[in-house]
């Protein structure tokens, strides 16, 4: 399997690349240059042909929304929303079969402590860019799944180790969600093109 991992400058993405490199072909990408022993493609995730080339031949994308040092709030938000949209649009056009979005359980932190919060509950983001950005990335991913152009798995991560994240991503890769268009013939039992999984404990 060929896997594209975004936000390569982030430690978690680097660890994911190391984890999968033995069994899969791994390509890393980032908006700034990153020194790595893995295949690396510098990409601003723009709407030009380069993002299509970035995703061409890729089977699965593990997408993280992470800011770069020195970015102001407005820029962080823009990079997260526009970059996610361009990446997913290119992925849909290039026939990428699976998107795994690494989100955060911070989105559910505002629920009272002691509540058993499920994946189906409404996210309660705050207005700060790290949380608001990933919330909007979830919303954008949802629309691609709704239209049936991509199967999307969202992993909302608590305070867990990179090993736990790698295991969760491995499990997600092994059980791809179907495209919505392929499951319309049997709505009563069909799985959805969007799935959300909570990994670890939510902050309270």
């Amino acid at each position: 399997m060929r896997i594209l991992i975004t936000s390569a400058s982030n430690d978690r993405s680097a660890d994911l690349a190391d984890h999968f490199a033995g069994r899969h072909e791994v390509r890393l990408t980032e908006r700034a240059h990153v020194e790595t022993e893995h295949e690396f493609v510098l990409s601003a995730l723009g709407h030009d042909r380069s993002t299509n080339l970035l995703t061409r031949g890729i089977d699965a994308i593990v997408h993280s929304v992470e800011s770069l040092p020195g970015e102001d709030a407005s820029t962080q938000l823009d990079a997260a929303t526009r970059g996610t949209y361009n990446l997913l649009m290119a992925a849909a056009e290039e026939g990428v079969s699976q998107i795994i979005l690494l989100s955060t359980l911070e989105l559910m932190a505002a629920y009272p402590s002691g509540y058993r919060v499920r994946e189906t509950w409404r996210p309660l983001p705050n207005t700060q860019p790290p949380t608001l950005s990933i919330h909007l990335a979830e919303q954008i991913s949802r629309e691609f799944a709704r239209e049936g152009s991509l199967g999307v798995k969202i992993l909302r991560l608590g305070d867990v180790s990179n090993k736990t994240v790698a295991d969760a991503v491995s499990e997600a890769l092994a059980q791809p969600v179907p495209l919505a268009a392929s499951c319309r013939s049997n709505e009563s039992t069909a799985p959805h093109a969007l799935s959300i999984t909570h990994v670890g404990e939510r902050p309270q």
Binding site: D72, L77, D78, R82, Y85, T127, H135, Q139
Partner: protein, 241 residues
């Protein structure tokens, strides 16, 4: 009331400025200068410029966001999504409680809410814009507004439009969308939005469909009439009569 209008020199902006000018002090901003004389003060401003939007909002009582860019895949995000974030940050910074945002009807009613099959489509359906660039960037802007209203004492009214017409230019038999309004009639809703007591609104984040009364019943403007007191003109009826 001191009113900041973002994107005020576009297609709808001049109509809104002329509608509001008799009762309000206007600060109109845009990346393009006004084509005609507009009332109020004009500032050159890109809605994607956070510091610029925050500075422009100083001393304002309300913000009206008319900024729009439909097709460019970079600028659409700058204007419709980032612009909303910047606007809401400006409202927080200057304690501005009244914000009026705008967009197309498919900010909430995307391709899965079909005009072909459904009737009485209202503005309070769960937003489902689809991936059309104009729709999804405005939808993310709406979501940003909604999140800010959950955390700050700010009231956002979002007015959604579809198709504008100049009544004098309509020819019998012209094609029309199932959600039409004249430019002048559209502008009138902004007066209502600035006048309404904020505690008369059901929540801090309300969406309204703004269009003329149309006989086919595809969309519903009932909420806009009931809550804002909007009065549709009968100036586009030649389209179907």
């Amino acid at each position: 009331m001191n009113v900041l209008i973002l994107g005020g020199t576009g297609m709808l902006g001049p109509y809104v400025a002329r509608e509001l000018a008799p009762a309000h002090n206007l600060r109109i901003t845009d990346v393009n200068p006004p084509k005609d004389d507009l009332p109020g003060e004009f500032l050159h401003l890109d809605a994607a410029d956070l510091d610029g939007v925050v500075a422009a909002a100083e001393g304002m009582d309300a913000i009206v966001n008319l900024s729009v860019l439909r097709r460019d895949r970079r600028i659409a995000w700058d204007v419709s999504t980032r612009g909303c974030y910047n606007m809401m940050q400006a409202a927080v910074t200057h304690n501005i409680r009244r914000v009026i945002n705008t967009g197309p009807h498919y900010t909430v009613a995307g391709p899965n809410v079909t005009e072909c099959f459904d009737y009485d489509i209202g503005p309070d359906i769960p937003p489902q814009s689809g991936t059309n660039i104009y729709a999804i960037t405005k939808s993310m802007g709406l979501e940003i507004c909604r999140v800010f209203t959950q955390h700050h004492d700010i009231n956002v009214q979002t007015y959604l439009f579809y198709n504008f017409k100049d009544p004098e230019a309509i020819q019998p038999g012209d094609h029309y969308a199932p959600y039409v309004i004249s430019w002048e009639n559209a502008a009138e809703v902004f007066t209502l939005g600035l006048d309404i007591e904020l505690n008369a609104l059901p929540s801090n984040c309300e969406v309204f469909f703004v269009f003329a009364d149309m006989p086919h019943g595809k969309f519903s403007n009932e909420k806009t009439k009931r809550i804002l007191g909007f009065q549709p003109r009968q100036d586009v009826e030649i389209l179907w009569k």
